[in-house]
Symmetry: none
Subunit: 212 residues, 4 copies
DNA sequence: AATGAATGAGTGTTCATTCAT
DNA sequence: AATGAATGAACACTCATTCAT
């Protein structure tokens, strides 16, 4: 008798979110084309017609699923740049830990989905690259530059280093979302990130490498 | 007249390869589902019927495209493990350079494709993970372990380090194949790989990091 | 407050008529199938559900729209036959003028609609043919026959003449409702009808036509 | 064993015509919206997919059906204007007889279809009005003007008369195609047309009508 | 070996109809 | 009486697959 089990429920506010959630999972699992709207509807506990009540077509649903999932995360990223009293090293640790956490949730799905469908949704891809990718990378670059300026880090190419630092957590996140069955990854994403950061900061070579 | 017959005869044997080549490009650009056999056929310069002469169906074509492209690269990778006279550091450099080269070509496509379609082709994914991913990673782990054993590298987790070392080139390769338009990457893949390796070997921290 | 209640109360009784009016316009503009109940509802200022409050389904609404519009005109037509003191010629003029007036309003829509949808609504078509078409034609035939009997008209086929006399105003009415944009008709319908009647009564041939 | 009964026949040349023929009949019977492509296909002896082999979509099929049917008739109409040695009266008879014949065939369907769907296909309607309607009317106007100039006809409005002369055959043709079941018309179209023309030429009033 | 006309199952989308509020 | 969220059957359109030539 709880209002959850009603056949024809009236909950306009909740519906779009529920549909987006279901859609995101299926798009992630099967890809955009291979996902049938019937399946999305069933997974969301509605019928196909209801999906069209909230999204004008499949493409709009896909874009909404991406955008809606991205937006809440955008602000969280910016916050990281503000903790300015600590050392660059420490802020770098914090930033990467935050990303690792974010990628553990939904954002791993998004990253994978965008890789799969970028070619088919150019404008959505533009939006994603500008608002998520470049923004994140810029923040990382700033932190690295700050470390160089403060003398914490050796002189190096901040852009290249930013890419390098980001790669393991992003790729591993995608990997985990993709090959969970075939190649399970036992590491925690944050653990891996800090391991990498430690190595990048210290290096692993024991002997001075004049021989190279 | 002879010229035409020649062309035809040459083509006759080349057909499957031409179709696979065309298919790989399109699968990569648009994804498996969004790629029409009509387009593959047109791109290969044949008709749809001809595709079915060589591949029993779309799935078989996809699997062939993946497998055929993987195989030639597998052996090349193995060779690297044999040059054992050099230092572990040097062999690591060489191995990573080889991968960077391989990923510049077609293998970037494969990596991206597998990420997109792993969920829809479990057995193909098994094959890919076993023959490509794990094999490559194992080789990398061995080289790292050799470096540790020889005293060239500090004591560390070889598996984690292998993943970390592979991530930038693999992700950047995928990235370049995916976001060429929106986020062009100017670095040469090998350049990036060596940059990363240098940092991993040396570290970037100037001051001793007791404070961490 | 009273004003609003007033409006509502007035509306409550007027609802079916408002819906029919909106429906007739849309059916006429787009045809039965191409007209959506959503559009009818919106045009009538209500919601889709309200339409179903008054009409059991779309077909019923269509039939009601046709029938309701026809009925008020039926009686007016019959009145014409009663003014029997005048000459047949004069009664013919009056009758045709009445029809021209009637066709200027809504009946032109009906005629066009019936032509479009006759095949899909056989019973409605039966009703229309019996109550409107045949009844009108019969009246016309009677007037013509009266004219022949009174020596006002030459001996001729009254049925054929009735059809001929009706055609220009009916077709022009339909035409105007259909091709208003592409082929605007400047004539007043009654003007055209009387022009035709004049010609039919007078003949246009000046020379004696033995040669025919 | 005749090539008619083969399941998968190879007759690319005949197909479009067969499909158009089937489509025209169904569009005419049920209207555009109410006609299902499945039915068109079945009526043409093919499957739905085959329809799309020749027509990009339903609208294109509709337009093709209209256009293809109109075109062959266009030239026939023009020929009529050339027989210039005869009297205007005679040429008028011939022209109207030709139209009556043409309307007996397919053109009656077209006229009805255009009335039903004009609102939904503005550009097709433009084409129809310009190439068929106005062209025909202009020819009729010219013949009437010729008769006036030669003294065969009384001074009158040629445009109005053209419309009046055309109405009975056009409306009756539409009528017959629409209400064949409910209101069968026994007259031959040409018979009706000549009856009308006779009346128009002679007039039916015996007594001089000064009183009007 | 190669073609390309034909197929038909499958899917996105629409819309008349229902019903809880 | 009126709403409008939800439904689901129906239909336009696609495309992998087949097969006669």
């Amino acid at each position: 008798m709880t209002d959850i089990t009603h056949t024809r429920q009236r909950r306009k506010e909740a519906r779009p979110g529920e549909i987006i959630e279901a859609a995101l999972i299926l798009f992630h699992q099967k890809g955009y084309s291979a996902t049938k709207l019937d399946d999305v509807a069933r997974a969301a506990g509605v019928t196909k017609g209801t999906v069209y009540l909230y999204f004008s077509n499949k493409e709009a649903l896909f874009k909404a699923a991406i955008s809606e999932t991205i937006h809440p995360n955008l602000d969280r990223i910016e916050e990281l740049a503000i903790n300015s009293t600590e050392s660059a090293t420490q802020r770098l640790r914090t930033a990467i830990a935050s990303w690792a956490t974010a990628l553990n949730d939904c954002k791993g799905s998004i990253s994978k989905l965008m890789i799969s469908e970028a070619g088919n949704f150019p404008d959505l891809t533009d939006f994603y690259i500008e608002t998520v990718v470049k923004r994140s990378r810029l923040l990382l670059i700033k932190l690295i530059q700050a470390g160089i300026d403060s003398g914490e880090f050796r002189q190096t190419d901040p852009d290249m280093l930013a890419r390098v630092l980001f790669s393991p957590i992003l790729l591993t996140s995608i990997w985990r979302h993709t090959y969970a069955r075939q190649d399970p990854i036992t590491y925690d994403l944050n653990q891996l990130a800090q391991f990498h950061l430690d190595i990048v900061l210290h290096g692993i070579a024991i002997a001075p490498e004049h021989t190279l």
